[in-house]
């Protein structure tokens, strides 16, 4: 049986479009509201990445930092993140969930305990930003044993040798970082160039689902329709900030935005 993440890709492929992946931070701007956002965007998104906020994020730009600090200030704990996922999974037409964060949070929680909680709450995949290959070999094997997708990252600086090693050790999904940037940077490379690199990865491992992230927004998303999946994160986090500043409801605004993103893909 295919796991839920692979199923989501299969479904979008049938509809002849990339899968839409969103990123929001757990607990932004409150525990309750972040759950509401996940529920409301499920209508449009195929896979939901949920950020575990950390206060020294070395790869995140301003928008996601703002969201993370907001969540931490509101007192989000690791156990709350699992609760949010668990409650979300009880909702109607819930989608696969990928937790994304930094390794220290897992390390302090305990790798085995963390995976157990992931399984219990219904987490389907993990992205650990600062646990690269080959350092992640042991942990990714543990994930596999627990039927959790460990998602390897690739970037424009990844050498061919690493590319081969990483794809070989990867599970069903790979994440390609489109350019040299923290999250939320403007697209500074042409979509063609990005797709060229993307195709290089697909040639080496055609069966793995490869998503492109970083610099994907309402403006740029339609240029990447040939990819297996596309991740939008910072623009959504920014929309939450904007809504809060304008005293509007982030749930409604974010939902509208994800709907628009989806329309651009079909």
């Amino acid at each position: 049986m295919l796991n839920p993440i692979s199923l989501a890709f299969k479904k979008s492929k049938k509809e002849n479009r990339p899968a839409l992946l969103t990123y929001t931070v757990a607990g932004d701007s409150s525990k309750k509201q972040s759950l509401e956002i996940l529920k409301s965007i499920s209508k449009y998104a195929d896979i939901l990445e949920v950020g575990v906020p950390h206060n020294t994020p070395v790869a995140d730009g301003g928008q996601i930092q703002t969201s993370s600090y907001r969540a931490i200030k509101n007192g989000i704990l690791m156990t709350d993140v699992f609760k949010i996922v668990k409650n979300y999974k009880k909702s109607k037409n819930s989608k696969p969930i990928i937790l994304m964060g930094y390794y220290n949070m897992i390390y302090q929680f305990g790798e085995n305990k963390y995976l157990k909680e992931c399984k219990k709450s219904g987490v389907n995949g993990l992205i650990v930003v600062d646990l690269p290959w080959p350092e992640n070999r042991i942990f990714s094997k543990k994930c596999k044993k627990n039927s959790i997708n460990f998602i390897q990252l690739l970037s424009p600086t990844t050498s061919y040798k690493r590319l081969k090693g990483i794809t070989k050790d990867s599970h069903d999904m790979i994440y390609y970082i489109s350019m040299l940037s923290t999250t939320g940077g403007k697209l500074k490379v042409s979509p063609n160039k990005i797709l060229q690199n993307y195709n290089k990865i697909k040639n080496i491992s055609p069966k793995k689902n490869c998503v492109i992230g970083f610099g994907i927004t309402e403006k740029t998303i339609s240029k990447f329709k040939s990819a297996d999946g596309l991740v939008v994160g910072s623009q959504i986090c920014k929309e939450i900030t904007r809504s809060l500043n304008n005293r509007q409801n982030p749930v409604i605004n974010v939902s509208k935005m994800v709907n628009k993103l989806k329309k651009k893909l079909s």
Partner: protein, 414 residues
């Protein structure tokens, strides 16, 4: 966990960059793997290359000014009445602190790899000031990331950086201190690593930066060893080396050449920043038993809460105000080669007053922490014990704080 003899400590890490199997490593985003590998390759080659070492030594000698003085603090020794108190005046170095060694080596490496821009973090402003000096010397563009709170409290160094033509980029996130400056600097490198070299200002960060910095500051102990032999005929039978520890670059460099001596003969004492007496916050992860965690790409003892969020620190000295500590020092602590303790803000200030009262020496607030513990312990030690304190910074940069805490009299220059 064991410290090996006859192998430099910086080279005692395993394949993945872990000392003692658990400190250090490379917890970095995928994007940084390649530039880090390139730097590792370059450094491993050059550190044994005679022409590179000649080049380094040339700049160390003619530009930084080696050796820095090794002086007896006779009045202080008399006043304390115990061990002989000496100081290695590393603040003699061009720019006024040990950070110049690491900055120079990083600029030499950047030049050789054809990079045009170099970026760095800074807390007290020394690392930034030195990097801006070295960048100017070697014709590189320079960007310095500095916490907004540190910019406020270390103005003289900020002015110096700007004068050297560096962009000083204020960091407003988190506690607005060194920890945030390092994060922001790493983020900038993630986005610009194809054209830009990064210099981490201390023996922290991904393993290669720990190694390069430790290799660079070891100049201090190379000089000291020669000076001791010149002074006493051999390395003294009872030698105690006191050094403040923030990230740990000056202390590691102050000790490195003496690593293979027994600790009975050469004892290392690292003094962390205990923060204000009344505050629970501190910057002393080794002294107060902080747990191992990941910070800025390396596993280390670090101040954090049970969730793994990095905790804010508090110290009067911006240069020690860092929640983590070099993996090298974690390794030296767990192998019991070095001993670590802390001095509070108040103790450091008191030590500064004592030293400046008896000697023509003005240690900055960072080494004042080391002086505090050395003075306390020297009282109880025999007269044939040689106590050496690394005076690794000058108090000029602390003028504002000293004026506020002690009055104008103490803030005057010698």
């Amino acid at each position: 966990m064991r410290l090996k003899k006859r192998i430099p400590v910086i080279d005692q890490g395993d394949k993945l960059g872990f000392w003692g199997g658990k400190f250090g490593g490379n917890f970095v985003p995928e994007t940084l793997k390649k530039p880090i590998e390139d730097l590792e390759f370059q450094f491993n080659k050059l550190k044994n290359d005679k022409s590179f070492i000649r080049e380094r030594d040339k700049y160390f000698k003619n530009w930084i000014g080696t050796p820095t003085r090794f002086i007896k603090l006779s009045n202080l020794t008399k006043h304390i009445g115990g061990a002989q108190i000496w100081s290695k005046v590393v603040s003699d170095a061009n720019g006024g602190a040990h950070k110049i060694y690491n900055a120079t080596v990083h600029c030499l490496l950047a030049k050789r790899s054809g990079k045009k821009v170099i970026i760095g973090d800074t807390g007290a402003g020394y690392a930034g000031k030195m990097l801006s000096m070295a960048a100017k010397k070697f014709g590189l563009k320079c960007k310095i990331f500095m916490g907004a709170k540190d910019i406020e409290r270390q103005q003289p160094n900020v002015r110096a950086m700007k004068k050297n033509g560096a962009d000083v980029i204020p960091v407003y996130t988190g506690s607005k201190t060194l920890v945030d400056a390092v994060s922001e600097c790493m983020r900038y490198w993630v986005a610009n690593c194809d054209t830009t070299a990064m210099c981490v200002g201390s023996t922290v960060g991904p393993a290669i930066f720990v190694r390069i910095c430790g290799w660079s500051t070891s100049q201090i102990s190379r000089e000291l060893k020669a000076q001791l032999i010149e002074q006493f005929g051999s390395v003294p039978k009872k030698l105690k080396l006191y050094n403040c520890v923030g990230g740990g670059s000056s202390s590691f460099g102050f000790w490195n050449e003496f690593m293979d001596y027994s600790k009975k003969q050469v004892e290392f004492i690292g003094v962390e920043a205990g923060g204000p007496t009344k505050s629970k916050k501190h910057a002393a992860p080794l002294t107060y038993g902080s747990k191992i965690g990941i910070l800025h790409g390396a596993a280390q003892y670090v101040n954090q809460n049970s969730e793994g969020q990095i905790e804010e620190t508090e110290s009067i000295s911006a240069g020690l105000d860092y929640p983590g500590i070099s993996p090298l020092h974690c390794f030296l602590k767990d192998t019991k080669r070095a001993r670590y303790t802390a001095a509070s803000d108040e103790e450091a200030l008191k030590a500064y007053q004592i030293v400046t009262k008896y000697e023509n020496l003005r240690p900055s607030l960072e080494p004042s922490h080391a002086f505090s513990v050395a003075i306390k312990e020297a009282k109880k030690l025999s007269k044939d014990t040689i106590v050496v304190i690394n005076s690794c910074g000058d108090a000029y940069k602390d003028k504002k704080i000293l004026e506020k805490k002690l009055g104008k009299k103490y803030a005057k220059s010698n």
